[in-house]
Each structure stands twice: as C-alpha cells, then as structure tokens.
Symmetry: C2
Subunit: 340 residues, 2 copies
C-alpha cells in the first residue's frame, strides 16, 4: 500500500496540454473542445475525446477559475447541517444551482456570529461567484467583506427590507402573530410557548405572546430550551410547564415540530389528552408532522420553494438579468390537523 501510494503521488496530473499533444493539437483547442465543441472540427473533436478518455483527464477548475475570474462555485452558510429545516432548503438550492453548473461549498455556523464572520472570510477566499447566508443578522465585518467582494448574496429564512443584496424568506413576526390569531380563534385563552435557543424562534415566540395577549388571551407561560430542539427537550419542557408552572390547560406553541413531537410523547406517557386537555402547535411542517399521533397542527414554510427561489434570484443576478426582485416574501401557511 505504501508502495502504491508513492506511485500514485508521483503521478503527474494530466493537463490540457498533454491531452492536446496526444491528439495532435494545441492546448487551446482542447479547451475549446470542452467549452464549445461546435468550434472544433468533428475529427479533432473525436481525437481529443479519445485522448481524454485514455488519459483520464479531469480539467483543473482551479486554473480555469483563476484565468476566467469565474469559479462556478457558490458557497452557503447555514446554522446547522443536522437540522432538517436547513438541510432541506440547501438541497433544493444546491440542485437548482448545480443544474446551472455551479457547485456548492457548505459550512455550518452553529448559530454563532463570530463563527459566521470567520467562515465568510474563508469562503470568500475561494472566490465564489455568489453566496447564500441564513438569516439577516451578520457582523459588521462580515457585511463589509461581503459588500467588498462584489458578488451576489442571498439571505434566506428571514425577511428584511434592506438585504445585503437579495433576500428570500418570510416574516417570523408575522408567523408568530398568525399562530396567536389561530389559537384565539379556536377559543383558547391560555397559552404557553416552548422555544429553542435560536433568535428567530424567539422572535416568533415574542410575536405570538404579544398578539395572544392583545387579543384577550391570558398571560403566556414560557419554557425556553437551552440547546438545540430535540424530542427529549420537548418532553422536559412539558414537564416543566405542568409541574413547575402549573400550566394544565390551553395551547402550547412550539418553536419546532420536533419539540411539539416531544410534547406529544410526554403527554401520551402521562395520560394527558391532546387536544382535549392540552393543544399543541408546531413549526415547520416536517415530513413526519402528519404521521405522528395525533397529527400535528403546525406552520408550513415551503423550504423547497425557498431554496429554488434563492437559486433563481442568484442566477438572475449572475446572468445580469434585470428580473431580479431584491426581496421575496414566501410567506407561510397554518396547517390544521388534530393536535389543535
């Protein structure tokens, strides 16, 4: 194996010039054959393709990027890679961009602005043609670097009237309010929130509480989670609400379907009937929301559409298309099922 390694490392990577030599043409002709085959005679094209085949030539995108000042690379920053909420729109974004010839360099910020700033710089050093950021709050330095880079930037999963460049998302404040109105309309006068440690989640919570009370509801109880949302945390939160806060009846608005699911589990264990004793509303409409028992009432955000729209807008910018719409509000939708 060590032997093997040495041989492999000694392997000079094959270049366009080498392919050209083998095909009896110059390096440029090979370049043309690859970028626009119609500009090369059928015969030489065939010889070049043959040479590529036998040599196993793979073009050097690094050199190409340096020469053309186009990296065909777009980078993305999301808070967490294991959170389906984000990975879902990253997928549709990636697929859309990949269809247009771009690759995606993805990193996670762990919800930390300082980390994000470092990553922005790191990503920028790869000279991406564009960039996707999650959220609208970024450090001053990050904004400065981004602006200085002069590339299209899309901020997603939130809404602002003054994006760095482009913005595709929805209003978390509106979402929280909408849930409050839904709950009040259904007649609930008591409510609680279970919220993960995420600024946007707290914005939803806050809007919900304010609106719920404004609409005549009682003071909203709350349970805040320290870390990321997990089923276990949802269970713990319900215990806390029940045992420490004396919350026994009403509706609980969770910052994610996962937490809502945890509440369902804990309720089942404790023999609490849902929605009769306590009603539950989630957020996100994950793929399991309809499959848990009772089926989860929740807020749907079309994450596929979000990824696609973000890609569309970015591509429009990259094509100097004038159809760009700096801010796109995708909205959200209340999905009523059984839990509330």
């Amino acid at each position: 194996m060590g032997q093997d390694r040495d041989t492999r490392n000694a392997n000079k990577r094959v270049t366009m010039a080498a392919v050209g030599r083998m095909a009896g043409v110059s390096q440029v002709t090979v370049s043309r054959a690859l970028s626009d085959p119609s500009k090369v005679s059928p015969d030489t094209l065939r010889r070049i393709r043959e040479a590529i085949e036998v040599t196993g030539f793979v073009p050097n995108a690094i050199a190409g990027a340096l020469a053309s000042n186009k990296s065909r690379l777009v980078t993305a920053l999301i808070p967490s890679i294991t959170n389906v909420v984000y990975s879902t729109f990253v997928r549709s974004f990636s697929e859309h961009m990949r269809g247009a010839g771009y690759q995606i360099l993805l990193s996670e910020t762990g919800f930390a602005p300082a980390e994000e700033e470092a990553l922005v710089a790191a990503h920028l050093s790869r000279r991406p043609d564009g960039m996707l950021l999650t959220g609208i709050h970024h450090s001053a330095q990050a904004r400065r670097l981004l602006l200085g880079a002069g590339i299209p930037v899309v901020e997603v999963w939130d809404l602002t009237s003054s994006p760095i460049d482009l913005c595709v998302g929805f209003s978390h404040t509106d979402a929280g309010r909408a849930v409050a109105e839904f709950a009040r309309k259904k007649g609930y006068t008591q409510a609680a929130t279970v919220t993960a440690a995420d600024e946007r989640a707290h914005r939803r919570r806050s809007a919900f509480a304010t609106q719920f009370e404004a609409l005549g509801g009682q003071r909203v109880a709350r349970a805040d989670i320290d870390g990321a949302a997990r089923i276990g945390e949802g269970r713990k939160a319900l215990r806390h609400l029940l045992d420490a806060q004396g919350f026994a009846r009403g509706v609980i608005f969770c910052s994610s379907d996962l937490l809502a699911h945890g509440i369902l589990v804990e309720a089942q264990v404790r023999g609490i009937r849902i929605p009769d004793d306590i009603a539950v509303i989630g957020f996100g409409d994950q793929d399991y929301a309809a499959d848990v028992h009772p089926a989860l009432t929740t807020v749907r955000v079309d994450r596929d559409a979000l990824g696609n729209r973000a890609a569309e807008q970015l591509l429009a910018r990259l094509d100097n298309n004038d159809l760009v719409q700096p801010v796109t509000d995708l909205g959200f939708e209340m999905i009523e099922r059984e839990s509330c």
Copy 2:
C-alpha cells in the same frame, strides 16, 4: 440598487500586490507575512496588517492553490444531506478537518452510483487534497478517476478489506447478525424486518434473517420500503405486516430508528402493546431513540467517532505520517432499552 451593483462589480478585488504597495513592500513580503509572520520584521508586519485591515483584503485561495498545488480543500460525498445519519458524521469530519485548515465541499449522491460518478469528476476538478466517500461500492470509472487523482481517499460507513485507499466503518453484515442473536437470546421465535431502499440496509436485513433462522427462529417476514425512511413509512409497514402478512407477534428489526419510531406510533394508535405484543429494534441510536415511548432498543454506531477517525486517517496521509491504518473497524453496540 442597480447603481450599487454596478459600483460593486467595478470594484477590482484587492490583491497582495495592492496591499504591498500600500505598506511599502513587495507582493512577496505580504505573502510571507501571511504564511509565516516570523519571517517578516515586526514593523513591516504591522504596516502590512494595517493595509490588510483598511483594504479588506481577502487572500485569493484559488491562486494560492494553483501555485502551491495544495487546495486545502477536501470533498465529501454522502447519499443524503437531510438524513441525520450522514450529516452527523459529516459534521464531526468537517470540524476536525477545519481545525487542520481544510474546507469541505459536500455533495449528495442520492444513493445513485451514476450520480456519484459524475460528482467524483466534478469534485476532482476542484483539485481537492483528499476525499471522503460514503460506502465501498463505486463505479469502475469513479475508482479509476480517484486512483488517477493520486489523493488520499477515505471510504466510510462500511467495511472492506480492499479500500481504494482508507476505510473507516463497520460491518453491516455483523450488525445484522448481532441483532438476530440478540433477538433469539431474548427468546423471540418470530421476526419480521422493515427495510428502506438502501443497499446497506438490505445487507443488514439479509444477515439478520439468515442468522435468525440459523439460530432456530422461524422464517422472517419482511416489509420493504420504496423510498427513504420516514415515520409514515414505518406506520404503513406495520399495517402491512399486520394486515397483509398476518404477523401478529414477535420482533421487528427496522433498518432505521425512524422506521422503528413509525412502528411505535402505529402500535400506539392500534392499541398494540410494545414490547409485550410486538417488540421493536431500530438502527442508528438517533438522539431521540431514548426519548420516544417506549424507549427504543437499537444499534448504536458512533458517528462522531467515525467522522473524527476518518479525518484523522486522512490527515495522517496528508502529513505523510506512517501511522495510517488502512482499515478501521469501529464496530457497533446493541443498546437495550424498552422496546425489545
């Protein structure tokens, strides 16, 4: 905004030469200041840093990579980005590699070999210093390209004695067998499997069934899922087992915790007692496995360790360290909880 855009696009990106000019030194000195500050006098270092600060200079890693033949880029291919099983080890892998100065270019193959092959070529064109692949089955062309690239490659989440280069994982066959032994030891004579459309999952299923029957168990019933694992699919599978296959008692081995969870939900709805009527075993030990009700008996694979070991091995190769161990078997562990 359009105005803004034009200005930004006109912005020539600042180069080392520009920074040097401002600091009164040559471009090379700036390069040194960045790569090894100790080789530059304290005073010029200060001036250079100042110039970098005011200009907002971000080094061009593209040019650096071309010149040094080191991209500080490692790429990774996983079947699905939204599946926590994979994103979890990608996270630990990424963090480990990032600590060593590498960035990760990640793509998903959607479990399709043809897609994987195309992506291998695309990734290779970025001239990564190393690559991570999920699984040990790759198209002949993909192997050829990988070998030709002469870079370290680590295959994870499976085991083979003849990896392309490095391998860190566990044996799915052994895992399936271990579950069968566990089930037989607990006295179950009847069993069924619920399996997602994934080659490795089927290898586990097959090993389970063979071993279960070899150990005196009855013929193993089966329900296969078409697409990806989801709670709803798990529910459907239980209904199928119950209603179409007359499977009423015994243990069900699922190819993932998600499917097992679906079975728990469906059982609850239908009033089937777990584990008294039917026992359930999952796979993966996801973070919710202990939090569902009843708590899930499952197979744990240390995905964080997997990502870290993969990174370690890759880094050892990159450092020409001789401590590389071509094949690392991380094993797995039966986690007994309440569902079986």
